[in-house]
């Protein structure tokens, strides 16, 4: 019997997505679920203006949340634009190669805790090779229209759900928005009897 899906919508430009990723990828180790990763275009690249006050607060709030979670935060390099597009394309490739967890954890840590400029080929190549992705394949993915179509489809599926921000989890048709809502998702997974025996 196939496992119950939990969809995980993620943006490389979202520091909250970075905070969510380690706990998200740990879920299938504790619950009998199929975690399905969807990289989506940043809100600012989907036509939604983000005011300065929101950007400022997001950096400060993420820093406090990262400290609470024991995760490094800063120095950062905002990947908005080509950086996000390159990461999204390689994320699709990583999914096809069974390395999406390793890729997402490595590149998001790079962006949000090591100021990795993912527009720089050498920087991106280093991250790809560290997680076992072939750099030539990664370069091809960046300019592959079929991969771009898959990224857009993932982004549109988030919008179709009536959702806007990230990270978002969807379980049994119910969305859970925010890195700080994983405990609510887990409560629902527990209620559904999906907890794996320890």
């Amino acid at each position: 019997m196939s496992k119950i899906p939990v969809d995980f919508y993620f943006s490389y430009r979202s520091p909250y997505s970075y905070l969510a990723a380690p706990r998200a990828f740990a879920l299938p180790g504790r619950y009998d679920i199929d975690l399905r990763f969807h990289g989506v275009m940043p809100m600012a690249m989907r036509g939604q203006a983000v005011p300065q006050a929101k950007r400022l607060h997001t950096v400060r709030d993420t820093a406090r949340e990262a400290a609470r979670l024991g995760m490094p935060f800063g120095p950062v390099w905002d990947p908005l634009g080509d950086g996000a597009k390159r990461c999204l394309a390689i994320g699709v490739l990583a999914g096809d190669r069974g390395k999406v967890r390793e890729w997402v954890l490595a590149v998001s840590k790079g962006i949000w805790a090591e100021a990795a400029n993912v527009c720089d080929d050498e920087v991106l190549r280093g991250i790809c090779e560290r997680v076992g992705l072939n750099w030539s394949e990664a370069q091809a993915a960046i300019s592959d229209p079929e991969i771009e179509r898959r990224v857009l489809a993932d982004t549109e599926s988030l919008v179709a759900l009536g959702q806007w921000g990230v990270p978002v989890f969807v379980f049994s048709g119910e969305p859970y928005w925010g890195q700080d809502r994983i405990e609510d998702l887990e409560r629902s997974l527990n209620d559904a009897g999906l907890r794996l025996p320890t």
């Binding site: 939604q48 005011p51 950096v59 400060r60 908005l80 400029n117």
Partner: protein
């Protein structure tokens, strides 16, 4: 954009924001001076009465501050959405589900399953904004409880006016639209861009989901729970 300009925008600026956020000595000194002069701590929370997250924030902050020498001031605003946000309606519907989940964490139960139209409750924001802060806040707590946590309770204008009289001891004030606009100016100056947000001596927090962090901030500033 030159490489230097790009680095400045994408890395240096966020780095400066992070570095400045770590500077706490002036805030701690200001808090200590405030206590020395006999003044209590202050949390201003920016809210909307049709927003269940705001109600949760008001009710739970009131409960948590009871053990601290800190005053809560509720500042209702009317305009609280991002300009041009295409997801306003979806966000309002989701806020009900999300607040139901959050409320369970605090042993509370939300009484509603559907969003409320904001314009029907705008008068409450005006009443609160037009009052003295202590009176307005006392009524805001009672109103938030009534609207979002008491099933079957009537929330029409007459019932809320009666609640106002019971809570504050007089009739509701007249038009408070100017006072609401004044709150919105304060919110803008403090870089509040949504509701509910709490300003704790200049530092902003999402008021419904960062309650523990607000407590930690008060501890750091010296307003510890008794």
């Amino acid at each position: 954009m030159s490489a230097a300009a790009e680095k400045f925008k994408k890395s240096t600026v966020p780095g400066l924001i992070l570095a400045l956020a770590k500077v706490r000595a002036p805030a701690k000194a200001a808090a200590a001076l405030r206590r020395l002069t006999g003044r209590r701590g202050l949390i201003e929370v920016f809210v909307a009465f049709d927003d269940p997250s705001s109600a949760l924030a008001i009710v739970e902050l009131d409960r948590r501050l009871a053990r601290r020498k800190v005053d809560l001031v509720v500042r209702p605003v009317l305009n609280r959405d991002l300009a041009g946000d295409p997801a306003i309606e979806a966000k309002r519907a989701y806020a009900v589900t999300d607040t139901q989940r959050l409320a369970r964490r605090y042993d509370l139960a939300l009484a509603r399953t559907e969003p409320l139209p904001g314009n029907e409750l705008a008068f409450l924001g005006e009443w609160v904004a037009a009052c003295q802060p202590a009176d307005g806040t006392r009524f805001a707590i009672a109103a938030a409880n009534r609207i979002w946590f008491q099933p079957e309770a009537s929330i029409d204008r007459a019932a809320m006016a009666e609640l106002f009289t019971q809570t504050v001891g007089g009739p509701p004030p007249g038009s408070g639209s100017e006072a609401v606009r004044a709150n919105e100016k304060i919110a803008k100056r403090k870089l509040v861009y949504t509701v509910p947000m709490a300003s704790v001596h200049g530092r902003l927090f999402f008021a419904h989901e960062r309650l523990d962090q607000i407590g930690e901030e008060l501890d750091l500033l010296g307003w510890k729970a008794r």
